[in-house]
């Protein structure tokens, strides 16, 4: 086994993610749009916004990952690339993980990096804590992408697969959302929660690729 097919899959997905439209700008626009709707919906009261801010960003991250993921395996299944990757001589799980990672790098990570700006819009105080939150958002969104990738691989041959991905991935997003929210609450348990977040993300990285591989073999069958 060589790493060359895995690297090639990573490179292709990265190119794909940046080529279709404006690269990372598109998910960023989605996140910004979704987040801006909230103050319009619930009112501009500073304390309320401060309280719900981190939660809104988590929800927007989850939604953004679902929107991005809809096409990652579906396009491959439609244009025949999937057939080639399945025969590329590398473990399918590694290729699926490489593709997911590439999409996280071009959509998930930029969103996490962008989050302090959104947090400021939600009346958070400018402090170093916002930077540590970037790490938490990045870690959490990685789990979102891996579990979402399982949903995406399972619905790769399904028309209107996006709705199905959301339904499949939603329960799998729960631990990440909960650990992430607790970690940022500053309340009791917030010191241990980042470790749980990291653990659940590692769990996702360890398990999801195998499920994706099984689902992709099914999609090609």
């Amino acid at each position: 086994m060589s790493a060359a097919p895995i690297l090639a899959a990573f490179r292709q997905s990265l190119g794909e993610a940046w080529a279709g439209g404006a690269g990372a700008l598109l998910p960023l626009g989605f996140l910004g749009g979704a987040a801006v709707l909230v103050p319009l919906g619930i009112g501009s009261d500073g304390d309320t916004l401060k309280a719900v801010g981190p939660g809104i960003i988590w929800v927007a991250l989850a939604l953004a990952s679902l929107v991005t993921l809809e096409r990652i395996f579906q396009a491959d299944a439609e244009d025949g690339t999937l057939d080639l990757w399945l025969q590329a001589g590398a473990p399918v799980s590694a290729i699926a993980a490489a593709k997911t990672l590439a999409h996280w790098l071009s959509a998930g990570l930029p969103l996490a990096l962008f989050s302090p700006l959104l947090a400021l819009m939600f009346q958070a105080e400018a402090s170093l804590a916002l930077l540590s939150h970037v790490a938490l958002y990045a870690l959490g969104s990685l789990a979102f992408f891996f579990w979402g990738g399982v949903g995406a691989a399972l619905s790769a041959t399904v028309r209107r697969g996006g709705l199905l991905i959301s339904l499949i991935a939603l329960p799998l997003f729960v631990p990440t959302a909960i650990f992430g929210a607790i970690a940022m609450s500053g309340g009791p348990g917030s010191s241990g929660a980042p470790l749980f977040l990291a653990a659940s993300t590692l769990f996702a990285c360890a398990v999801a690729p195998y499920a994706m591989a099984a689902a992709l073999r099914l999609a090609a069958d």
């Binding site: 060359a4 097919p5 244009d79 025949g80 057939d83 653990a199 360890a206």
Partner: protein
């Protein structure tokens, strides 16, 4: 408010994690998954020295293949073998399972019955080209050369396939024939003994068809073999035909 007692939870998480790791190890240890039986069977076959008796060692063979789609039996008891220099043409009306048979031979689809023995590496050119909308033919060939770890000069391959002019045009602007040529160009990136081709002439002009024939002839003269699903006339002398 009380602080959560996270200690038991942490222990539970660790136990659960190790359980899953153990389970995945155990699955590896019990041996071939039924799905991979054919592949494992192929691996278990003793390697036959190529030069000794090429006639005795099919590069790819299949026995007793049967396939069901939904509740419909597509085909049953299909046996085939290709040896060095041979070209097998698959025939049959639309919907008789030519593509499915090729996918089974390539290992993409799991047959309901029978087994496939692949002794040599194969190339796959399906009816979907595998070209991304934003990918140019040059990028496509570079990508797969990288993935397969080969050092072929992509420029000469592009020239050979008549793709010099559209070499830097994105896939979405290419004609169907140009996309097909790009897919066929992958055959030249690496020397692999078995070619599995699904309707290789589709969308090609007369010159393109002649090019396919020339490629196949060259490949066979080098000792390679071809299995192709073809509608209409094949431009090369098939050593065998299989009608589904």
């Amino acid at each position: 408010m009380r602080a959560p007692n996270t200690e038991p939870g942490r222990t539970a998480l660790i136990c659960w994690g190790s359980l899953i790791v153990l389970a995945s190890r155990a699955q590896l240890a019990v041996g071939p998954h039924p799905r991979n039986k054919a592949a494992f069977a192929a691996a278990a076959e003793p390697a036959i020295p190529e030069m000794m008796d090429p006639q005795a060692a099919p590069l790819l063979s299949a026995s007793g293949l049967g396939m069901i789609r939904g509740e419909r039996v597509l085909f049953r008891e299909v046996n085939l073998a290709v040896r060095t220099g041979e070209a097998l043409v698959l025939r049959g009306a639309n919907g008789t399972g030519k593509t499915t048979l090729l996918r089974i031979l390539a290992g993409l689809t799991r047959p309901e019955a029978g087994r496939v023995a692949r002794r040599e590496a194969h190339h796959w050119v399906g009816h979907r080209e595998g070209l991304k909308p934003q990918e140019t033919p040059r990028e496509h060939l570079k990508l797969w050369a990288q993935a397969w770890g080969t050092n072929v000069a992509t420029d000469s391959v592009l020239t050979r396939m008549g793709l010099n002019r559209p070499a830097d045009v994105a896939g979405r602007y290419l004609s169907a024939g140009q996309r097909r040529r790009t897919a066929l160009a992958r055959l030249l990136l690496e020397d692999r003994p078995v070619w599995l081709l699904d309707e290789p002439y589709t969308a090609l002009d007369a010159e393109g068809r002649a090019l396919v024939d020339a490629l196949i002839a060259e490949h066979r003269s080098r000792g390679g073999s071809v299995i192709a699903a073809i509608h209409g006339e094949a431009g090369f002398a098939a050593s065998g035909e299989l009608t589904l």
